[in-house]
Symmetry: C2
């Protein structure tokens, strides 16, 4: 059997990627409580919100308030998604130290999601990344629809390799390769990583899976075997994708932890505290949590 990483970093994206796709309105108080419970559980990377137009993501319109009110735990990094210079400037004003940019590997998805083609979005992100780094911020990159696009179908591996390299060239410290619609399976993960890790070190790659077809943890296991040691997840399995009917959210942080704990991989995160955070927000949602672990807990 391949040797797995001894420790893994979990990037908790429930407050941003999760809540962004929830139809129930969540109050600022509840968001702050959710984030504070997650940091208390030991999560050291939390994507808190996004500085985007409120018409684009109404759920996250209170980003400034959320950042103002969370209790910053020493050693924990709190990040925000920024789509453009306006977003970056608002984030900097709010005292945000970590931002993320969101590119797509599908031309059609890029245009539908942000009204910009891939090359145009990279021009914007160069400006954003330069300014963010100049201001002392750390910048993470997402590459969405990296396995398949709801409009174009399967995305070619060489395009993902090329766009990942372009994101790293901008100066991002890490690229989260994202299965936005949850169709990726371990065969695709093998194929992608066997190519991607030729030019790119595994330490610069995170994987971001949605569990729409139940593949997320098998995909994580495959990626662990390639030495990937950073994974995105959302407490409770919050989220979804507005373009993909029936899609569920990010893989649940507590389900991921159950597997990593069982494999003896250190994360520094306490599973039942994460599950408690998910239970705290569950009554506010319009649907049951998708975390199998939390649903099975007595």
């Amino acid at each position: 059997m391949p040797t797995l990483p001894a420790s893994v970093t979990i990037v908790e994206v429930g407050p941003r990627d999760g809540l962004q796709n929830e139809s129930a309105h969540i109050s600022t108080d509840e968001k702050v409580a959710y984030v504070d419970r997650l940091s208390a559980a030991g999560l050291r990377e939390i994507e808190v919100s996004a500085f985007v137009s409120p018409t684009w993501m109404p759920q996250l319109a209170d980003a400034i308030e959320v950042f103002r009110r969370i209790v910053r735990k020493p050693g924990t990094r709190y990040s925000a998604l920024v789509p453009n210079m306006t977003g970056l400037e608002r984030a900097i004003t709010a005292g945000v130290t970590d931002v993320a940019i969101f590119a797509a590997a599908s031309e059609t998805f890029s245009r539908k999601n942000t009204n910009r083609g891939i090359d145009e979005s990279f021009a914007t992100y160069r400006e954003v990344t330069d300014a963010a780094i100049a201001a002392g911020l750390r910048v993470r990159g997402y590459l969405s629809t990296a396995f398949a696009c709801p409009f174009e179908g399967v995305v070619p591996v060489d395009r993902v390799v090329e766009l990942t390299s372009r994101l790293l060239d901008l100066g991002v410290y890490e690229v989260a390769i994202s299965d936005t619609i949850g169709t990726a399976h371990p065969g695709q993960v093998q194929l992608l990583l066997s190519q991607l890790l030729l030019p790119v070190p595994s330490t610069r790659i995170a994987l971001h899976f949605h569990d729409t077809r139940g593949m997320a943890l098998a995909n994580v296991l495959t990626a662990l075997e390639f030495g990937i040691a950073t994974f995105d997840s959302s407490a409770g399995g919050l989220g979804g994708c507005p373009y993909a009917p029936g899609s569920t959210g990010n893989v649940a942080t507590e389900d991921l932890l159950y597997m990593l704990d069982g494999l003896g991989i250190d994360t520094g995160v306490r599973i039942d505290r994460v599950s408690d955070a998910a239970r705290g927000i569950a009554p506010l949602l319009t649907h049951p949590l998708s975390s199998r672990y939390t649903l099975a807990r007595r």
Copy 2:
């Protein structure tokens, strides 16, 4: 990466293990339609029902009728669970050619489930297996609670190795190592198989996972890496465990197929036909299907 098997046998257990744990009453007609759709999908091993006391499994009281009315597809094997000689005799009378016996790796579970301790159950199963083989039947063995027991907790690996060997010594052609309550994770699967496959060839082992904590497919992937090539699953993810609150059913056949198809592993089974069979029975249940694949299908 380890080499995976080129082909896998799926043992479809939805009609027995799945329906046995469903609270909605399913008519004989509907069961027959479910089984016939599953054989038409290409499944070549289908556990159809059980010859047990109707007070123990009321849902399966019509086993004789179901066996009488299914359309037997050439090349497909249709099996039944038999707990004792009475069950075996009824199965033989019904023309059943393949039976399964059901031992437990936990003394407490064995007593609660069948009113017999492990050794006592083996005495019965020796008689049943001898008689079945003498009558020309093929006998499969289950080893339930092989990872954990709802009463005793984690089950020691050496006990599983010993009981698997004892089942094979009875003359069963295969032992289905079963995670009855769905707590197994890839770390446990690695630990178990690294010991179990010392005395036992991988061709004599099947794995049977419930998806209660979302680990089933990651567990299957781990087992594939050990060369295991037979897995139990239920179309739609039907089932559960009456002793484990919140537990979901067997891993869904279509979710398993999505992963195996993606890995290029041949099964001879058509995923959308299996999903159609699950959709056929879904309106009769008291809850949504647990198959992520079928839920995400448009």
